[in-house]
């Protein structure tokens, strides 16, 4: 059994990926986004992400709109729930077909997408922000590693709110990337 300790987890570029995802999320929140959280295999992670944003543990940080989507038929439920400008975030392995489907559809709904996971990575362009632990530990969902990732995402997103100049009228490069991806998906 591994100790499951997360030392060095951010060394392979995950820190930079978290920074970019946080700024993109803060920009969307500044424009009124709602965060939709899914984790089909480990639903408590979806709920933990949502409560993190809705009810911040640090007094004085603003409450942000976030919902966990749990239960069955997540694609159908997200389709009616997500509005253009929103953010869709998932915790799941790259083999999760429901999450892959959600991430693929996010651009058509006008949503930015982020995918948290461990082990083999999803294909290039599978989501706007792939926040990945490359070491494959099948127990990662239960060791606190994912909790650390979305805690950091929350903490960094709130740091971005201290930089209002960077939140307004910002180029959404992630959305540009997804146009290409959506085109590819449509042609497949």
């Amino acid at each position: 059994m591994t100790t499951g300790i997360t030392a060095g987890m951010l060394d392979g570029g995950l820190a930079e990926d978290l920074a970019a995802a946080s700024l993109a999320m803060a920009r969307r929140f500044a424009r009124g986004a709602t965060l939709w959280c899914v984790a089909p295999g480990w639903e408590p992670h979806a709920q933990h992400m949502a409560v993190e944003f809705v009810h911040p543990v640090i007094v004085g940080k603003r409450a942000l709109p976030a919902f966990a989507l749990t239960g069955s038929d997540l694609v159908a439920r997200a389709r009616v729930a997500v509005r253009p400008g929103d953010i869709l975030i998932a915790v799941a392995g790259s083999g999760d077909e429901v999450v892959a489907d959600l991430m693929l559809r996010a651009p058509a709904w006008g949503a930015a997408s982020a995918w948290i996971g461990a082990g083999p990575r999803p294909g290039a362009g599978a989501a706007d922000h792939v926040l990945w632990i490359d070491d494959h530990d099948p127990m990662a969902p239960a060791t606190g590693a994912f909790v650390l990732i979305y805690h950091l995402l929350w903490e960094l997103t709130h740091v971005c709110f201290e930089h209002p100049g960077l939140l307004k009228a910002a180029p959404d490069t992630a959305a540009d990337v997804r146009v290409t991806h959506a085109d590819e998906a449509g042609g497949a």
Partner: protein, 241 residues
């Protein structure tokens, strides 16, 4: 990583006029690394300090499970989701033997009925009254260690003979000094986030210790479920897992 020249401190800016995102992105990545290192160091210190407690608590939990007991986990907010993950780790583990574990925060009908009718402080203790017996285990997840609804449930659980386990942060709060908590894990940090990350890892190790102790306990107790292999008779649950 390409080094980013962070010279922003030389040029005080008006935040509303800030346009270059690169210094912020570099600062965010640095902050993420520092927090992750802090989290890992706390996890290591927590596991080292709690090694004996994890083994003892795992052994005590294994005895309850071997006697047919169930585990009831409960917590508030983010801790309610962490206790859900903890319960799921026992009930449907990716490896090892599934054990009966339930999350008392999970059912909104029960939680809101109790909250509305008898008060929030009793949302878990009333469930312990309904479900708990002397073979069972109560596990409370808290960062403060002092949540009133958790303490009420632990008190009730202790009175009914359940094994009581508490997860706390900071200095342990009430749990650390209470005589109703048999095994109390304290993650010594002032950050709710860092506490929860270490509690998750503690929970993972506690389940592994329980699993390990189950093998020894089962060998002693000759537990029927374990010694009836798949070929020894019809499976009453009809499953093949």
């Amino acid at each position: 990583m390409e080094a980013t020249e962070n010279t922003g401190f030389l040029y005080p800016f008006i935040a509303a006029e800030e346009r270059d995102e690169r210094p912020l992105l570099a600062a965010l990545a640095g902050s993420a690394r520092a927090k992750a290192a802090e989290s890992a160091a706390l996890q290591q210190a927590t596991l080292t300090a709690a090694a004996d407690l994890v083994a003892a608590c795992g052994a005590a939990m294994a005895e309850r499970f071997a006697a047919g007991g169930r585990l009831y986990a409960f917590g508030n907010g983010g801790s309610s989701t962490d206790c859900a993950t903890f319960a799921a780790l026992f009930a449907s583990p990716p490896d090892g033997r599934p054990l009966p574990a339930l999350n008392l925060s999970a059912d909104q009908a029960v939680v809101t009925a109790l909250g509305n009718d008898v008060g929030f402080d009793l949302i878990f203790s009333r469930q312990i009254i309904a479900h708990g017996g002397s073979r069972d285990i109560a596990v409370a997840f808290s960062t403060s260690g002092s949540s009133r609804d958790l303490m009420a449930a632990l008190r009730e659980a202790r009175g009914r003979g359940l094994l009581t386990v508490g997860f706390a942060g900071y200095d342990g709060g009430e749990m650390a000094h209470s005589d109703v908590v048999d095994h109390c894990f304290v993650v010594r940090s002032q950050s709710v986030h860092r506490i929860q990350e270490s509690q998750a890892l503690l929970g993972y190790h506690l389940r592994a210790a329980t699993e390990q102790a189950m093998h020894k306990t089962v060998d002693r107790c000759v537990h029927p479920d374990v010694h009836n292999g798949p070929s020894s008779g019809p499976n009453p649950h009809g499953g093949t897992e």
